[in-house]
Amino acid sequence: MSSKEGLSETIGLVVNGRRYVFVVRPNVTLRDLLRRLGLTSVKDMCGGEGACGSCTVILDGRPVLSCLTLAVDCDGRSVETAEGIAESAHPIFEAYIKYHTMQCGYCTPGFMVTAKALLDRNPNPSEEEIREALAGNICRCCTYPEHILAVKEAAKRLGRG
């Protein structure tokens, strides 16, 4: 339900459960739009090449690279960021705190969002499935093995209801 005003478009977007209306130019990415909202979990490591996974958000239930997603294409859709996952106290957030899933932590929100998207569609993933889901995220500090522990822990807690 977008409306055009010159080069800009008005779009409606639900971000972490809250409704927003934005006027955006067609070249603005979803990442830039979210960062303007102060949602700095949406990182920029690779300069918008879609290479690092640090800007991952959940768009209508699917993990997407927000640096490669145009904001105008998100009209009427729903976005979840790491801030939203943290606010909801989802088990994946608790598990990411419990384990050393980070050193510098710059990439961590992207990992956590990707992991949450995995658990949304597969509440009991195997180690292979966890590895596969997180294989597109770069961690220069190399904390990869801790993420597997965290996702398994979150799955266990989700399974217990």
């Binding site: 949602l39 700095t40 979990s41 949406v42 990182k43 920029d44 490591m45 690779c46 300069g47 090449e49 879609g50 290479a51 690092c52 640090s54 960021t81 790491a82 801030e83 996952i85 943290a86 957030f93 990411y96 705190i97 419990k98 384990y99 050393h100 899933t101 980070m102 050193q103 510098c104 932590g105 710059y106 990439c107 961590t108 929100p109 956590m112 590895r131 596969e132 997180l134 294989a135 597109g136 995220n137 770069i138 220069r140 500090c141 190399c142 904390t143 990869y144 093995p145 801790e146 993420h147």
Partner: protein, 802 residues
Amino acid sequence: MAMEDKRWWLWKPPKEAKYVGKYVPRRDAAGKASGWHKYINDLELPGMLYAKPLRSPYTNCIIKRMDTSRAEKIPGVIAVIRWDDPWFKDKWPVCFWENAPLYSPRLRSTGALPYIMDRAWWYGQPVGAIVIAETEESCDEALKILSKDTEWEELPFCLDWEESEKCEFPIRPGFEKILPEAKGNVEFSPLYWEFGDVEKGFQEADKIVECLVRWRDPNTWATASAWTAIAHWTGNILKLWTDTESSTNARSQLHDILGISMDSIEIESPYGTCEFGGMSGVLRPVIATLAGILSYRFKRPVKVIDEHSRWEGCEHVLGTYKFKVGFKKDGTITAVDIKTIAVEPGPFPKMNADQVSKLFEGSKIPNIRLHARYPMINTGQRQCTKHGAPACLVHYVVINLVADALGMDPTEVALKNDGWEGHDIRWVYENIAKKHGFQTERWSLKECIEIGKKLIDWDEKWHPPGTKILPNGKYHGIAFGYTIAWSHTSNIGVRYALESDPHPRIYMSLCSDGSIKAISYRADTGVGVDTSYSMILADEIGVPLEQIYIDVFSMKEFRLSPMAGSLGTSINTPLLVYAARKMKSKILEEVTRQIDRFKGKSPEKLDIKDGVIFEKENPENKMTLSEAAFIMGAGISVEVSLEELFKAQPPPSPQPCMVRQVTFAEVEVDPETGQVDVTHVVRVYDCGKVINLGAVRGQLYPHWGIGRGLTEAIYHDPLTGITLNDSFAQYPILLMNDIKKIDIEFVETGLAYGAYGSCGCSEAGAAAPTPIIPLAVYNAIGKWIDDWPVTPDRILKALGKA
């Protein structure tokens, strides 16, 4: 308190320690996972300007003419500052080691590289001008135009350190004005370093073998975020936001350049982004210094963004290594001769015999010689980041070369040659360690090897090179290497700490709610400083972790050791434990004066556990620290300095390295494609005493180090010299699935010189695993590959298939 013995390396954590040595969640975890924590590049200040440098489009060039007028007219551009700007002429910041002479104008004339010059010696180097604008977009637009409006004289270049000395053209024209030692195309005069008598050692040898390693394509830093700093000059205070580990470097430069008091420069360091070691400590402060200068000049907050630098340099002393090793039939090494042609850190002091440092400090080899040449080439700056991969290379290769020549198990060769500076490890125990009070029943290397062998099933799987093909048709390879743990840096740490300003000091106070507040600055690029330090304080004082608040983020007059990781561990843990014990003593003294139920008791008869003060012989006589603090008020504090600690107990000398780390790796090599699958990596590390189990485990995950030996390389176009893969899309960092299985184990012998007998481990994941993959590939295919990293094309070439 247990302060009678002043030898901090012999101190033990409290018997009922709840945190030290345990897997404790990080204090920064929620903020980092959620995105609530703001990194420097997330921060925006009202009215902030942005600054970016012009970058060299050529690999070697001089600016002949620059017209800034069009760039200056771009909307939002405030200024374009040229290298020869009259105000800035003597104010460009430089890169230098923190322990260079401070406060001196000589900083900018003794081998230090100015951030902006009229020439560039590598592709992408900041050159010519800085653009200051209201927005990043205006900066970018102006820089595009400025590059077009600059007339460049393109010069010949050289990327091959083996060829550069023969070049008839100057590789870095004008470099000799910055570093007088530079002659022709040689950066430093050759280094000749000899321990013992190498020729005599070769005469005593039963056999001599030779080997070549060329670290042909350098790996680079590829840090998570662009190098960024913010400064705000308020008229009398300069506030700096920087995540460099050596922010005092920026502070002293700003004092030197602007003439403002060091005390008027306030530093805030939010958590940084994986810029570990010298790269953070030496190169990054330039960005912070520049931000300070620009804010002072333009009277507005300024954010400097240096996007490309994370792709421009690499670990230092990468180059060509020629090995000649003599040994007895039983595997005892009698002589090692190494000739290197290696590229050093750019215009910094050369690190004396760094290439053989780990072999020297971790073996009993009586005769070692290094002949090093330091040619210039046209690539970016070299600086240690997760320091030590070349020195680990030397250690691993020497041991494996001997084992291979004798058909011996390399773990046996390692044990046979373990020692320190020419002495057998048992000699070290008897003649030094025992005098320092250490228990010497345990042998670090032996324990590490035994654990590692079991984890990788070494006795079952190890085989001679090129002799095992798996059912899937791939070659199976397995390898072992060992080197010293990072305790050797304690001596260096002492020196850095004592040469820095301000000297390491910590302030601690009891708040009226019973919490303990500790203040001492120490930037954290990811190792979890505040968590580890809080764990020590909580256990030592006897309060829950939640009752400790440590502010390591602001630097005013209190700071810990300036340098990172292992250096910090060596200095900061004794200081923290010392301060905590002093604080506890003071609290207990005060309660015997001020709290009725404890009045008249001796402080020694009291203790604190779980935040409760009690009488040891009558535990029912107790009171929470919170209640006591409320009554006493917030007046109890201690302040301790490194000088005080060292006055009580001078650091011992020498401090031989007695702790070890080992790496085992297993690979499968596809003979048709040259593809290497890393199926299992085992790391066993003796850090003397584990402080923060989760943090040290994180430091040991080996992907960075394995990647340096297997995939990570920056490639340059041979015709233009420009960098071809300077992006995360192209630079091959290892990902989640690139190592199938990892085992990390720890040994705690207590044989190091930090508090509790601990040492650092911060470089262990990125440096020590690096040489293991070329060795494992050799074990798989039976052909030695000279050129590293061992990429598929090189493997196929070795197999005669390319």
